[in-house]
């Protein structure tokens, strides 16, 4: 009973995940792509739930769906990307690409068969088991070094993003007196020699 239900949830969520991620890259409308991505995250969070990793499942929803994807949506809407233009070569390269992908899938299916891993399903815990506590303990003790490093990555990402995007204080409408004084005539006035009448 129990196994049957979880299996059922797993396969539905997994299938949905694969389909929606395919739709992310094939959808013609970028806004739809983003929404399919949201669906992807949602399905993955269900998979986390099945593994009893509630914390990760919720974080995935909060952070990615709640914050990151919302931001994405704004950006996509503002930039107005013409996906059609990007996809002009799509059909041309489709056959060879598909061939390679099929080859890869075949190989992986052959190699990553479950019997090669000899994995057992994780043991189930009781109701008083706290996934957050376990995670926190592991992060702050055993994995303290990688945890700190991850923090460094975040700093680096912030600095990189700001230094690339930030172009000095803008938006103020105050006058820049030195640049006004330094302006040359040629910067502002262009003299064009216009013929008196149109030559045939």
């Amino acid at each position: 009973m129990y196994n049957w239900l979880t299996d059922c949830v797993f396969y539905v969520a997994a299938a949905l995940l694969v389909v929606s991620s395919l739709l992310v890259i094939t959808s013609r409308n970028p806004v739809r792509s983003v929404l399919f991505l949201v669906l992807c995250f949602f399905c993955s969070s269900i998979l986390w739930m099945l593994l009893e990793a509630e914390f990760l499942a919720l974080v995935l929803i909060f952070v990615y769906v709640g914050a990151v994807m919302t931001l994405f949506l704004f950006v996509v809407m503002m930039l107005h990307i013409d996906l059609e233009k990007l996809k002009t070569n799509f059909v041309r390269y489709l056959p060879i690409g598909a061939l390679i992908v099929l080859g890869m899938i075949g190989l992986m299916g052959y190699i990553i068969a479950p019997e090669h891993f000899s994995l057992l399903a994780p043991a189930h815990h009781g109701a008083d088991y706290s996934n957050i506590k376990e995670l926190g303990t592991a992060l702050y003790t055993h994995y303290v070094y990688p945890f700190e490093l991850a923090a460094v990555i975040l700093i680096v990402a912030i600095i990189s993003a700001i230094s690339l995007a930030h172009r000095g204080p803008r938006g103020r409408k105050s006058q820049d007196v030195p640049s006004q004084l330094n302006i040359q005539r040629n910067d502002r006035v262009r003299l064009v020699d216009v013929p008196a009448e149109k030559k045939e």
């Binding site: 990553i112 090669h116 994995l119 994995y143 070094y145 990688p146 460094v152 680096v156 990402a157 690339l164």
Partner: protein, 479 residues
């Protein structure tokens, strides 16, 4: 749960580096108006301090801490010191270049320092997690650095290409590592190498499968063919100062990654990765040397030459004996010093508003500045492998190890490619010495400190050629 606070002493250089980087960042934010060169000075100080700490704290024993995440050993210390020293010279060469252009001053140094920190972490990584995090800390700033000159479209394109390709490669590496984790149930390199000795035959395929992805990831970071495609575009597109940085220290970090993942972790799968590296080395030497010949842009030519050099270096790794590993580490160190000099030359010769990029810009350099032309000659000869300069001994060591490993055919091919490669290095020399200059003016873009630095760099190559033992013995003791 009983938790023992890990021994942080071995990691003090990294901690110091992180602290100093933050200080540089803050000083740039708040004090740069008043002291414009403060971030630069502090950055140099950070590097010197880290070198001192690395040397002082190394106790000639292998120490593992942070729950198997961090290792400090002989080869790691050598590589760290080389990375830090290289970055020191990079800063010396770059100061004027960065100041002259529309590149954010503080951010440039901060990002470089972060990248160096990432390389140090990577060199000392002893688990998949810290290895991958180190890799990302060192790669992320590079992407940003390339695009830092924001008015150059070429740079933005290069940054984009590097970023996407880098992401693909990282993904592949991660995927490969996850396969190995799946088969061995551990992320610690020490544990994995232990488990591999008793792995059941059914899991063999998965491990090989993971290994292929790992080798691809490593080859991408090294810039070996056929995973090299980003190298020429990025080297050419990035501002020379950034190219100088990308072309030097990251090679050592990537080498460290190769040593940790292949030599330390998977010695039992040596046959498999040897086969792959043979292909990578051959294709790299072929593409690098052949395509370099037709280049007209010096940076692009050096990019192809770096691909070829990575091919030679892999020859040392793939020979699979201690002699080969030490020859490879000697090669990578010598290559880094040579490429530091060559790209450094490009950087310091470029003045405000013009780049010394194309080979034609070097016409008649001898009559414009004979000393710099001589240093460039030394560097080119060294890259071509002309005795008695260091590059020759680097190649010799690698080829010797191939012979030791009974791969004579590979050694012969390597020699053939080296001869082909000599052509384009000598062309630079020919242009410098025998062609008439296009501009008669003397070169005045260099300052005293850069002249001293570049002279030291070039002459060190020569000294290292006469006394290769200085570094070679260090490398030999590491394996």
């Amino acid at each position: 749960m009983n938790f023992v606070i890990p021994d942080v002493v071995p990691a003090i250089p990294e901690i110091f580096m992180l602290a100093m980087t933050c200080i540089v960042l803050l000083s740039g934010l708040f004090l740069q108006r008043r002291y414009p060169s403060l971030p630069y000075m502090l950055s140099l100080l950070a590097l010197v301090g880290a070198v001192v700490l690395t040397v002082a704290l190394y106790k000639h024993t292998t120490e593992i801490t942070f729950h198997n995440s961090y290792i400090i050993d002989h080869i790691g210390s050598i590589l760290k010191v080389t990375i830090l020293g290289t970055c020191f010279f990079v800063f010396l060469y770059c100061r004027r270049y960065v100041a002259d252009r529309n590149i954010l001053n503080t951010e440039f140094y901060v990002l470089c320092l972060f990248s160096v920190l990432g390389m140090m972490v990577l060199v000392s990584a002893y688990s998949f997690i810290s290895l991958y995090l180190g890799l990302e800390i060192f790669s992320l700033p590079l992407y940003a650095l390339i695009a830092l000159q924001r008015d150059a479209a070429r740079s933005a394109e290069a940054a984009m290409k590097y970023f996407i390709m880098g992401a693909v490669a990282s993904g592949m590496l991660l995927y490969g590592l996850s396969m190995i984790y799946g088969a061995t149930k551990s992320v610690d390199i020490a544990v994995v190498s232990q488990v591999l000795t008793s792995v059941p035959a059914s899991q063999n395929l998965i491990l090989v499968f993971g290994l292929v992805f790992v080798v691809v990831g490593v080859a991408f970071k090294l810039g070996g063919a056929p995973f090299h495609m980003w190298v020429p575009d990025v080297y050419e597109g990035a501002p020379s100062a950034v190219t100088l940085f990308i072309a030097t220290a990251p090679k050592i970090a990537a080498f460290a990654m190769a040593v940790r993942l292949l030599v330390d972790m998977m010695p039992l799968y040596q046959v498999e990765w040897q086969h792959m590296l043979i292909v990578v080395a051959l294709v790299s030497m072929a593409i690098g040397n052949f395509v370099a010949i037709v280049q007209t842009n010096l940076k692009r030519m050096l990019a192809y030459s770096s691909i070829a050099h990575m091919g030679y270096m892999s020859l040392g790794l793939l020979s699979g004996n201690a002699q080969g590993y030490s020859a490879a580490s000697f090669y990578i160190i010598v290559y880094t010093i040579m490429s530091l000099g060559a790209f450094g030359m490009v950087t310091i010769l470029s003045g405000k508003g013009f780049e010394m990029e194309t080979i034609n810009d070097y016409k008649g350099l001898n009559s414009r500045n004979p000393w710099l032309a001589f240093i460039m000659l030394l560097l080119m000869f060294s890259m071509a492998g002309v005795p008695p300069i260091a590059g020759f001994f680097a190649k010799l060591g690698v080829i010797e190890s191939l012979v030791e490993a009974h791969l004579v055919w590979l050694a012969v091919l390597a020699l053939v490619f080296a001869i082909i490669g000599a052509y384009y290095y000598l062309r630079v020399v020919k242009v410098m010495y025998f062609d008439a200059p296009e501009h008669q003016s003397r070169i005045d873009t260099t300052s005293m400190d850069t002249r001293i630095a570049i002279s030291a760099n070039g002459l060190f190559i020569l000294v290292l050629g006469i006394f290769p033992g200085i570094i070679f013995n260090l490398c030999k003791a590491a394996f």
